[in-house]
């Protein structure tokens, strides 16, 4: 007899977090025992501005279902202006992804300070929920990287 296995879709989420604010925010979420799904894999970057559009596309290519970038609030960047540049870049990139027909909502930018553990947790929960509703990333993935 064959048992029909019903697997729940567990999205793969990549979160780029800046070292100074958002990564510390994630830490705070942890030490405050605020939960967020284990589907979120955090990659620490020195500044949100370090994230090159290619990082995002490559994450998708290699199987991510959603990519989120977190940095200091505008005006609070450790390097003064890094996140301003990141903001413009990501706006244009997301708009381009929308233009080539990739579902809206697979990408997101959120500003999370070191004091906002609760915001980090809430954002991640919300984002994972959103990606779950969008389902698997088919349009941006590379077939060769699918298992």
């Amino acid at each position: 007899m064959q048992v029909e296995e019903k697997k729940e879709f567990r999205p793969k989420i990549v979160a780029f977090c800046c070292n100074w604010c958002s990564y510390a925010g994630a830490d705070l979420a942890g030490s405050s025992r605020l939960g967020y799904p284990a589907d979120v894999k955090i990659i620490r970057v020195p500044c949100s501005c370090r994230v090159n559009p290619m990082f995002i596309l490559r994450a998708f290519e290699r199987g991510a279902d959603g990519v989120i970038l977190c940095g200091c609030h505008p005006g609070d960047c450790h390097y003064s202006t890094g996140n301003f540049y990141a903001r413009r870049r990501m706006t244009l990139l997301f708009s381009m992804l929308d233009y080539i027909g990739v579902e809206n909502g697979r990408t997101r930018v959120e500003w999370v300070s070191a004091a906002e553990g609760a915001k980090f947790s809430a954002t991640m929960n919300e984002f994972v929920e959103k990606i779950r509703s969008l389902g698997e990333n088919v349009r941006l993935g590379d077939l060769r990287c699918k298992s």
Binding site: M54, R88, M96, L97
Partner: protein, 323 residues
């Protein structure tokens, strides 16, 4: 054309310049190539007609490294590229003597072929002061087509016939603009995400990764391209559709966002006829809408939108909100 040759020879003779960058006559009516002219007799081969679409400004990067000045012929749209290269310190203004040449739109032989014309032997009426109609002589008989119908797509949405940087101007231009340059982008934006995805998939799956779009682009002047890097493990030379569709062309356009002057060379050279300008133009349209109207290459001083910011800039979430 004779005026250009005479002036170029003068500049060589009086020692102002060491060489001239222009176009050499091809062996078919439609294939002149960019070329350097150093000696008086070389000019027998000089040509400037409707098929001289190549943007010579990128060649000035190499010419700037040579001894002495180079006389370069730039069409109005090429001067934008030159300005942009100047802004990025890729060319040396002191090494260039710019002669702005008139333009009445550049021709695309594929547009002539698309009208069912085969076996082209001669094309008359391609010169700058020529008639509004081209006479195409073929081995299968003569035909006429209108100049406008044989023009490159980019000329229909011309930025204007004003030279942005020059030492002198020779030749009259004629207006060619008859469409809004963002119309094509708007038409795609109006589609559903599924339609857009299908559209780009169809177009980009033709890509053969020949890199002509990258190599011809005056804004693509990195000494080492990220797609040539041996450290970058992604497909590189392999023409894997999924890579081209989702990575290569988006990144190619992104790398020139805010610097692209919309010269249209990428679409002109694509052997598979992929409308690559649609990517660049989308970025330009977004920049205009979000950060204020900006023409890369209009001048050589202003800050590019991606190296600038405002505190009150839109958040990336605006993309979803706009719908």
């Amino acid at each position: 054309m004779q005026e250009l040759i005479t002036r170029a020879k003068e500049l060589l003779a009086d020692g102002t310049a060491a060489r001239v960058l222009g176009w050499r006559r091809g062996d078919l009516p439609y294939n002149p190539e960019p070329a350097f002219f150093e000696k008086e007799e070389d000019f027998d081969q000089f040509v400037y007609d409707g098929f001289c679409g190549a943007n010579l400004s990128k060649m000035m990067i190499e010419a700037s490294k040579l001894e002495g000045k180079t006389v370069v012929f730039l069409k109005p749209c090429d001067t934008y590229s030159f300005n942009q290269l100047l802004k990025e310190h890729r060319v040396d203004r002191e090494k260039a003597y710019i002669i702005g040449v008139g333009c009445r739109g550049k021709l695309d032989v594929e547009k002539i072929r698309a009208q069912g014309i085969k076996g082209i032997q001669e094309i008359e009426g391609t010169e700058l002061d020529g008639p509004e109609e081209l006479t195409v002589k073929t081995i299968y008989g003569d035909q006429t087509v209108s100049y406008a119908s044989a023009m490159l797509g980019r000329c229909h949405v011309c930025k204007g016939k004003e030279h942005r940087i020059y030492d002198e101007i020779i030749g009259e231009s004629r207006e060619t603009k008859d469409a809004d340059r963002f119309d094509e982008v708007r038409a795609i934006e109006a589609m559903s995400p599924e339609e857009r995805f299908a559209y780009f998939k169809k177009e980009l799956s033709k890509c053969i990764r020949c890199n002509a779009c990258r190599n011809v682009c005056p804004a693509c002047s990195c000494r080492k391209c990220v797609f040539d890097s041996t450290k970058f493990d992604s497909a590189q030379k392999a023409n894997v559709d999924s890579f081209e569709e989702k990575m290569f062309h988006v990144i190619r356009a992104f790398h020139v966002a805010g610097r692209c002057t919309d010269c249209g060379e990428c679409s002109r050279v694509c052997p598979q006829g992929i409308p690559l300008h649609l990517f660049n133009r989308k970025f330009i349209k977004d920049i205009d809408e979000l950060y204020g109207e900006y023409h890369a290459g209009e001048d050589a001083e202003s800050k590019s939108p991606l190296t600038d910011y405002r505190f009150e800039d839109a958040e990336p979430g605006i993309v979803g909100e706009r719908g």
